[in-house]
């Protein structure tokens, strides 16, 4: 990675440059909209209004945000250990199984707040378990984790179809999904909270799993930056040789980081499964695992950044749906394009504007320039 020599103020590094990158991504997206023959300004208006303009829109935005926080955190934790976990999709799918099993075991007997801790454990456990084998193979056999996690996404899909069709769907049901959970398996919506602010969340599925997501952020922050294990994870990710020198077992760290990563991805299932649909459906993850990669990259693998990036993508998803609703020529794939451009400009091309900005700053702060300005004022 090219380390910039000219140092820029922190607010430029973490504020201005990412903002600029995202802006460019949106400008290019605007060109695509224009190319299709629609008005980009109008599109932006609909998108922003759709995401934030009314209670229900916000509710949906928060719902998607919750998914992306979980998967973004998952990718980020693995990143810190120098691992690229593309298996969030499959881990979340399995997490759904853990959630559903907990919910179905308890929903008829206890209220949701009793079920929730069990569901959290189930989701985390199953998600982590699905990350374990790729982690082990990477640590012990050097099998490329990118490849194995991709394979495990496919394997997860097969496993879940088999379970849902042949084992988990109630008899006589025509749908490959579990039964609908009773009240004890349903997480409360945030409607009440919205009403406190005088907003109507309508039927938006935002639910208290967003609280779990925020708690997970706090956990990840403490875990990565305040614990010995986190220290070891970062050391391993940044310099594996130094980690070995320091007596850190890279095998252990690889496995632990992937387990935590998988658990976080698994937790994502709480939101759609218990929070929204109250049942486990085929393919319910719908790409959130992959979006997590973009979210983690944009959020620079830091929980605060991840929350912001997840919110941005949440807005894109909800606003994009409204956009597709109101501008039929812009199909749902527009969102994928915007997403791609954001990853491209904020991720792969993140340094593109830095030299220019650095030059601008050097110019502004250089003594000659200061003198020139002074002289100008004097004269």
């Amino acid at each position: 990675m090219s380390a910039p020599v000219a140092k820029l103020p922190a607010w430029v590094e973490v504020g201005l440059i990412p903002l600029l990158n995202v802006t460019v991504a949106f400008l290019v997206s605007g060109l695509v909209v224009l190319f299709i023959g629609e008005n980009p300004l109008q599109a932006v208006k609909i998108l922003v209004w759709g995401a934030l303009g009314f209670g229900e829109g916000i509710g949906f935005t928060l719902f998607y945000t919750t998914n992306f926080i979980f998967t973004g955190l998952a990718v980020a934790v693995a990143f810190h250990a120098g691992l690229f976990n593309i298996g969030g999709e499959g881990q979340a799918y399995l997490g759904g199984l853990g959630t559903a099993l907990a919910a179905m075991a308890l929903d008829r007997y206890v209220p949701w707040y009793v079920t929730l801790p069990f569901a959290i454990c189930g989701a985390a456990l199953f998600g982590a378990a699905w990350a374990l084998i790729p982690a082990y193979l990477q640590a012990r056999r050097g099998s490329h984790i990118v490849i194995t996690t991709i394979m495990f996404n496919f394997i997860a899909a097969s496993l879940m179809v088999w379970l849902l069709v042949d084992h988990l769907s109630p008899p006589g049901s025509m749908q490959p999904e579990t039964r609908t959970f009773a009240a004890g398996g349903a997480l409360p919506k945030l409607g009440g909270l919205f009403e406190m602010f005088g907003a109507d969340m309508g039927a938006a599925p935002a639910n208290i799993s967003i609280v779990v997501a925020l708690a997970a952020c706090l956990f990840v922050w403490v875990f990565i930056w305040r614990t010995r294990l986190g220290y070891e994870i970062r050391a391993t990710g940044l310099n594996p040789t130094a980690a070995v020198y320091a007596g850190i077992s890279t095998v252990k760290i690889t496995i632990i980081a992937m387990l935590v990563s998988g658990a976080l991805a698994g937790l994502m299932a709480l939101n759609p499964v218990m929070g929204d649909q109250q049942r486990l459906q085929i393919d319910f993850v719908q790409g959130a695992g992959f979006v997590g990669i973009a979210v983690a990259l944009m959020g620079r693998a830091h929980p605060v950044g991840i929350v912001l990036a997840a919110f941005l993508f949440g807005m894109l998803y909800q606003g994009g749906a409204e956009l597709a609703f109101d501008m039929p020529a812009i199909s749902r794939d527009m969102i994928v394009v915007i997403q791609a451009l954001v990853i491209l400009f904020a991720g792969a091309l993140e340094h593109m504007f830095r030299p220019g900005i650095a030059r601008a700053f050097a110019l502004m702060s250089s003594p000659q320039r200061a003198r020139m300005l002074d002289g100008g004022e004097a004269g």
């Binding site: 380390a3 910039p4 020599v5 000219a6 403490v222 305040r226 614990t227 010995r228 294990l229 986190g230 220290y231 070891e232 970062r234 050391a235 940044l238 310099n239 040789t241 130094a242 980690a243 070995v244 020198y245 320091a246 007596g247 850190i248």
Partner: protein, 533 residues
């Protein structure tokens, strides 16, 4: 455009004494003027003027980081100067890439070899000079040409050997062959002897003289003033990115050069008293380390280090010293043999650096960038690396950040680490200060055994003095120190006993007063007795 006219304009910087020329009146082989180069905020070369006469060997000396490699890399087209002109045989040339330099008859052997490890010698030699779209014809021609060069310059090497499997000395030969194969008239060598035994170095110098006698020009960068005196015709001294003086070698001496390099008189000897060795604190017995490829890196090595002594391990790099240190530190598992710390149990089989640290063993690794530090960490995080599990830095699973920082501040003060900011990213400290961070971490824990690899590599003279003093002070406090260095001078200055390693074995032992030639022969693998015979 006439070079002579240009000379007079710059004469403030030109040598006061006329340089040695092999052919008076001829245009100089290389002339640089007004070369400037910055890396970000670091100004590596400033307004450099340099004349290298044709058919001479021209030495360049200067501290670490003085800008020697940068200057030569500019001449070779690897970097582009921010400003300045390059003249070859009086003609101004634009050198925008190494291609241009090669075309101008310049060849370079870099400090870090520019070879492809998994290629054969032949493939490396023809890379970039294949002589056609297809390899076949070029390879055949190159094979013949290599044979000729081998005969002419005694540069024997198997053209089909894989580079990664050759010792460094031979790799260097390949680099020289590469340059000659491309028809270089001017050959730049950047610290070529750092990796060679004295006898290999002698061989190299014979080759260089041979080249000179054929009218080729050689530019030689080295830290060893002895070599400068032995082989060069003229010498330039660099300091902080500038050439402070160029003069004929015959008219100067090591003392003058050293003073020019540092800007003050230097005392190169380390002040230390008699050693008073006590009980052995580290014992190594029949230690063997076989690496992943099945090569015996350390071969049946036995020695001990006593309290209050410094044992130096001399040897050309790549002869198993690194592996030996790593095995003792627990980074690399030993294949067989034993390691004891102060009468404790045998540690050889369990590779666990954390455990060894608890047992009182500290380790300053050879390569701070690769192993000793996490460059992206804050200074205070690095100052506990390896000790982060200690109860003083962690309460249960949670790190005590305040304690870590407080501790780091203390070390910064004691070791005069600059800038004194424990929250600064480690990459932003200079090389010498980074080394001090490692030393502070490893020494402050009051270990009973200290392993030190290349403690002063890439460190300036001032810091070297400091580090050497610290090592001697530890010895005097009754610690056992095992020192590995490729700098024979450093080994001789610090050690109470010297072990010489060659091809994974200890081939000899000597006292600090040992004769350099004798040590050199041992380092080349010619055993004590034979040398005596």
């Amino acid at each position: 455009m006439s070079p002579d006219k240009d000379d007079s304009e710059k004469d403030g910087r030109e040598p006061s004494r006329p340089l040695e020329k092999s052919r008076p009146g001829a245009a100089p082989a290389i002339r640089l003027s007004g070369i400037d180069k910055s890396f970000g905020t670091v100004r590596a070369n400033r307004d450099i003027a340099l004349t290298v006469e044709e058919g001479t060997i021209h030495g360049i000396v200067g501290e670490n980081g003085a800008g020697k490699s940068t200057l030569m890399s500019i001449l070779y087209g690897f970097y582009q100067a921010d400003r300045g002109d390059i003249f070859v045989r009086g003609r101004k040339v634009e050198i925008a890439s190494s291609d241009d330099a090669i075309a101008a008859g310049i060849g370079m052997v870099h400090q870090h070899f520019m070879l492809v490890d998994n290629f054969s010698v032949l493939e490396n030699v023809i890379l970039g000079a294949e002589g056609g779209i297809l390899l076949k014809a070029g390879v055949a021609r190159a094979r013949a040409e290599l044979q000729r060069l081998e005969r002419e310059y005694e540069l024997q090497v198997d053209p089909d050997a894989i580079i990664g499997e050759l010792p460094v000395g031979l790799q260097q030969r390949v680099e020289i062959l590469k340059a000659l194969f491309r028809g270089a008239d001017t050959l730049i060598l950047d610290e070529p002897t750092g990796v060679l035994t004295p006898s290999e170095a002698d061989h190299l110098f014979r080759i260089l003289r041979q080249l000179k006698s054929q009218g080729k020009t050689v530019i030689l960068i080295t830290h060893k003033l002895r070599e400068i005196m032995a082989i060069t015709d003229n010498v330039s001294v660099m300091r902080r990115g500038e050439i402070v003086r160029t003069l004929p070698t015959a008219e100067t001496g090591p003392e003058e050069l050293a003073e020019l390099m540092v800007g003050r008189r230097v005392l190169l000897r380390v002040e230390k008293g008699e050693a008073a060795p006590g009980a052995p604190l580290l014992s190594v017995e029949r230690l063997t380390v076989v690496d992943g490829k099945g090569v015996r890196r350390v071969d049946d090595v036995s020695f001990e280090v006593r309290a209050g002594e410094i044992v130096g391990i001399a040897g050309v790099s790549g002869n198993g010293q690194s592996e030996l240190l790593e095995a003792i530190a627990g980074i690399r598992p030993a294949t067989s043999g034993s390691i004891w710390l102060e009468g404790g149990k045998d540690l050889a089989r369990q590779a666990d650096p954390a455990r060894r640290r608890l047992d009182g063993l500290a380790h300053v690794p050879e390569d701070r960038h690769r192993m000793g530090l996490v460059m992206a960490f804050e200074e205070n995080e690095n100052s506990v690396l390896g000790y982060h599990l200690g109860p003083e830095y962690a309460a249960g699973p949670i790190l005590k950040l305040d304690a870590m920082r407080e501790d780091a501040r203390r070390k910064i003060e004691r070791y005069d680490i600059r800038p004194p900011d424990c929250r600064l990213k480690t990459a932003n400290f200079s090389g010498g200060n980074q080394q001090k961070i490692v030393l502070a971490r490893e020494m402050e824990r009051d270990p009973s055994v200290l392993l030190v690899g290349q403690p002063t590599r890439g460190v300036d003279i001032g810091a070297i003095e400091f580090i050497h003093r610290q090592l001697v002070a530890m010895r005097d406090a009754g610690k056992a120190i095992l020192l590995v260095s490729v700098e024979l001078d450093e080994i001789r200055a610090l050690s109470d006993r010297i072990l010489v390693m060659f091809a994974g074995r200890i081939v000899g032992e000597a006292g600090p007063e040992a004769d350099e030639g004798e040590l050199g022969l041992m380092m080349a693998g010619i055993a004590d007795e034979e040398a005596a015979a």
